[in-house]
């Protein structure tokens, strides 16, 4: 077992002091001289034709500098199948549609101007349910696709289908089968810091945009396409990322308001700021993809899983974004959570006039886990096997290839399951407390832990720059959104290079100066950046030792002579100061360069900065700047077969809860919670716990109370009063977490991703515990008191 100096310790994050002092600059705090404030006018209807837009009154309001619509600006197509535009023309398809925007000298005037814009609509019948949208005669949300070809129905042409083995045969032969229907609602990421941007142009037509994003380089690509559409082909975008007040996936797409800010900035020649207020954040940003799932699973008499058949219906909303790609991630647990040889998975994705969805932490995995892990308990019950034993029997194992072609290397699934069962006294408690309406339940997860190739490049670059003071700038294209990515990178750099962590400064968030990174998503930040940093650090060490070979002994001699001058009694040791030194003789640890063979010799130790300065301040001097571009050995999945080793490592984990159901109020009280996550190697104890605790509490909100409600496409609860996220008193029970270290061969120091898994199995763990407590299964999230009371009443009536 390797002893690390810094990996695995508890180091306070370097960005925490500024944040605790109120000094971090979020987009809300960012100002530019002469900045204007932008405000967007949204559609009044869920589905309507735009007959006319009259902006004259708004234009005349003093303080207004520009009013734009889809009719006086170049059309900018957005979204990965380009079925959306930044400003709408002809038709609106959802309440979120942007029909006009204003830039004014202050936010109040901008808001007033928006109200003065008059839009004449012809309302159209809308469709708000994906099943209804599939019926013949349903209103067409899009009459044509992005290329102008006529559409005959509301299906979105993003088909996902995965087939392995022979599910029909396995169904015939299965000893036990369990069938279920499950659904998950829209969920809002609910970042405490809302979204926004400040866009401006330089005098050469290049765009500089400060924006809340997790994908600065992909955003640069999107914005450059916008510049082309604006007649600025060949000009470049510079994307700069401020401090982020959370992100949880909201920053994985580029948004209408960004393009609108860009258009306003171009029209006015001034910086334009658009920041969403909380109501806009709820109603006009893209939430988590809702799902309706039909699932059948079967097993042998002994309890070995033999097949899984899953059909999902996805409400795509009015335009296509990452919600429609969540099946590509759902496919991972569907094909590979536990060992199942026969799998069938198919999705139907349908346009409606509802809001459209994009990424949220877990990216489909929480939705899939809800169905998979709830239904697994149903199957275990049908087979007469304890669901914990059932999971152990089928758990994932190291060095295995799954039906999807996922190459599992390190795997701690069994240990995670055993850990949570032990923490919750599973064997004593399961099935034993129904008289008290108490129960225990568990669920596990399977997710990417070594990045995920969803784009052609899965790469991350690092530049490492050493200065004359022995300080290191680690320059990364990745994004710190609160998850502790900077901290992990600083610790990994210190460990790999041989300097103390206080010497490391992480610089990020500027496409002009930072090396390319595909984006901070898929729990990949630490995995990829730290791997790149290790490579860059090794190159830097090599350079340091080459310089040491030249400068070490002469510098040591110089110091001896200097010391002799100050202390005449000092005896200069008899060393061969002229001898040839080979770079391989040296080592660097805790800022000190020394010889391998004599690590303790006080005369043969120089600080790294002395070596660096010797090499720099001379004729034909040199400085050390190294770089590395790490692109993991994973694959894009083949779109036809949905197979491919998407990640360079996979993670598993298990969570379990003991609950008590109040049968009079329907409230689920959590008594104890345990989680065990296969993390490969802990990099920083503090930040890893923070990620897991935070994920669990988000998962509990998903399980018990969060729901973005809509009626005919309109968001009904765009505020924290009616959209409840958990507060401190709600988390008043012990949460025990265990980091299982499986030392992944590809991970930096053995580490794997940990940003997302915390909230993946939480909801089914709660549902399974509720079932143990009261014998009732809630299949539609969230598990509200009303649903429990309704189910209890129905059972009583039936009895």
């Amino acid at each position: 077992m390797t002893q690390f100096d810094y990996i695995g310790t508890e180091l306070p994050r370097p960005d925490a002091p500024d944040k605790a002092a109120g000094k971090a600059v979020y987009i809300h705090d960012f100002v530019r001289p002469g900045m204007l404030y932008g405000k967007i006018k949204y559609s009044r209807y869920a589905h309507a034709r735009i007959k006319a837009i009259d902006t004259s009154k708004a234009e005349r309001l003093p303080g207004v500098r520009a009013v734009i619509t889809g009719y006086n600006t170049p059309q900018i197509r957005i979204g990965f199948i380009k079925d959306n535009v930044a400003l709408k023309r002809d038709k609106v398809r959802q309440f979120r549609d942007e029909v006009a925007a204003v830039a004014a000298i202050d936010p109040e005037i901008a808001a007033e101007a928006v109200d003065l814009i008059e839009v004449e609509y012809e309302e159209l019948p809308g469709v708000f349910d994906p099943e209804e949208a599939l019926q013949e005669g349903a209103p067409l949300v899009h009459e044509t696709d992005a290329r102008g070809r006529p559409k005959v129905d509301n299906r979105v042409p993003v088909p996902w289908k995965f087939v392995a083995g022979d599910v029909e045969k396995a169904k015939q032969e299965a000893a036990f089968v369990a069938e279920g229907r499950f659904s998950t609602p829209l969920i809002q990421q609910s970042c405490m810091g809302t979204a926004g941007c400040v866009a401006e142009f330089d005098l050469q037509g290049n765009l500089i945009i400060h924006t809340k994003t997790q994908i600065p380089f992909l955003a640069q690509n999107d914005f450059n396409a916008a510049l082309s559409a604006m007649g600025l082909k060949g000009k470049n975008s510079r994307v700069i990322v401020p401090a982020l007040g959370g992100s949880f996936g909201t920053g994985l797409d580029t948004h209408g308001y960004e393009y609108i800010a860009i258009l306003l900035a171009y029209k006015t020649g001034r910086p334009v700021k658009i920041v969403l207020n909380r109501e806009e954040e709820f109603a006009y940003l893209s939430p988590r993809q809702p799902t309706r799932t039909q699932i059948i699973q079967g097993c042998s008499r002994e309890g070995k899983l033999t097949f899984r058949e899953i059909r999902m219906l996805l409400d795509n909303g009015a335009y296509t974004s990452w919600g429609a790609t969540t099946p590509s991630v759902m496919m991972l647990p569907i094909s590979s959570l536990y060992r199942v040889p026969n799998v069938f998975y198919e999705t139907t994705i349908v346009y409606t006039n509802n809001t459209y969805c994009q990424a949220m932490r877990g990216y489909g995995n929480p939705q899939a886990a809800w169905a998979l892990e709830s239904n697994l308990d149903e199957l275990a019950e049908a087979a007469g096997i304890d669901p914990y034993d059932f999971r152990l029997l089928n758990c994932n194992i190291p060095n295995d290839i799954t039906p999807m072609g996922l190459n599992i290397t390190s795997c701690g699934h069994e240990e995670c399951l055993r850990t949570v069962a032990e923490k919750l006294d599973w064997k004593t408690k399961r099935g034993q407390q129904r008289g008290k309406a108490r129960g225990v339940g568990m669920a596990s997860l399977f997710h990417v832990g070594g990045s995920g190739r969803v784009y052609r490049s899965d790469g991350t670059g690092i530049i490492m720059k050493l200065d004359d003071f022995g300080h290191v700038s680690v320059i990364t294209g990745g994004v710190e959104m609160g998850q502790g990515f900077h901290s992990a990178l600083a610790v990994a750099t210190a460990e790999a290079l041989g300097v103390t962590p206080d010497r490391v400064m992480v610089v990020s968030g500027d496409t002009a100066t930072c090396p390319w990174d595909v984006g901070t998503h898929a729990s990949r930040g630490a995995f990829t950046s730290c791997n790149a940093a290790i490579q860059a650090a090794q190159k830097a060490r090599k350079r340091v030792f080459e310089l040491a070979a030249e400068h070490f002994m002469p510098r040591v001699h110089f110091r001896m002579k200097l010391r002799k001058k100050k202390e005449p009694d000092f005896e200069i040791p008899d060393l061969d100061y002229e001898r040839y030194c080979d770079p391989s003789e040296f080592d660097l640890k805790k800022n000190i360069v020394f010889f391998h063979e004599e690590p303790e010799n006080p005369f043969l130790q120089l600080s790294i900065e002395e070596i660096l300065r010797e090499a720099h301040f001379k004729e034909q001097g040199t400085m050390i700047v190294t770089e590395a571009f790490y692109d993991p050995c994973n694959q894009m999945i083949d779109m036809k077969t949905c197979r491919g080793n998407m990640s360079a490592a996979y993670i598993t984990g298990a969570q379990a809860a003991e609950v008590e159901v109040d049968t009079e109020t329907g409230r689920v009280k959590i008594l104890r919670f345990a989680a065990a996550h296969d993390v490969g190697q802990v990099i920083n104890q503090q930040t890893i716990k923070g990620q897991i605790y935070g994920g669990i509490v988000q998962g509990l909100g998903y399980a018990l109370c969060e729901e973005y409600k809509t009626e005919k496409g309109r968001n009904l609860n765009p505020n924290f009063l009616d959209y409840k996220i958990l507060s401190a008193p709600d988390v008043d029970f012990p949460i025990d977490i265990t980091c299982v270290e499986t030392h992944d061969p590809e991970g930096p120091f053995g580490a794997k991703g940990v940003g997302e898994p915390g909230l993946v199995p939480t909801a089914p763990a709660i549902a399974n515990a509720v079932y143990d407590a009261i014998g009732l299964r809630i299949t539609d999230l969230p598990i509200t008191p009303q649903k429990i009371l309704t189910a209890l009443k129905a059972r009583k009536k039936a009895a």
Partner: protein, 157 residues
């Protein structure tokens, strides 16, 4: 209608001319450039805008600017001591992993300060109640509660 309001801000006597409809949050951020106080919801639900008025935590997004006249306001910036030294509660948040994205942090720390000024050694339920109006989406609250507990232990009132 505009009026000059005089009040005490982070230990200094200050004044500003404000319109009737303005709220304290906006006055602090715009007129005094104290951007540590955040707008999280503008509706008094999330606590990101928490400041102390005469030692009592308030949602500054709902607090009419006119009402601040003659009172004493403490923002997160006011907790930082001379030489950029963090207040013990701020230091405890840093030490114990209570800060992730940091957006809720200023409001959270001020609510904690008000608690410890009143109850120097609170139990866990009292800590949770004191920060019940401060929503956090990142941390799950555990390390925040621990930080406040440790700050109390070290006599941070």
């Amino acid at each position: 209608m505009k009026k000059e309001i005089r009040f005490r801000l982070n230990g200094y006597e200050v004044s500003s001319e404000v319109e009737a409809h303005r709220v304290l949050l906006e006055v602090l951020r715009k007129d005094f450039e104290l951007t540590g106080v955040k707008e999280g919801c503008g509706q008094g639900e999330c606590g990101a805008c928490t400041v102390l008025v005469d030692g009592v935590p308030v949602d500054s997004c709902l607090y009419p600017a006119f009402e601040i006249a003659g009172k004493s306001v403490t923002t997160i910036e006011g907790l930082v001591g001379e030489g950029n030294r963090l207040h013990p509660i701020q230091a405890a948040f840093v030490e114990h992993g209570a800060v992730q994205c940091g957006f809720c942090t200023p409001g959270m720390i001020l609510s904690a300060k008000a608690l410890l000024d009143e109850i120097p050694h609170p139990n866990e339920a009292e800590i949770r109640r004191a920060i019940s109006g401060n929503l956090c989406r990142c941390t799950g609250y555990l390390q925040i509660v621990e930080a406040v507990r440790r700050a109390a232990e070290e006599g941070a009132a």
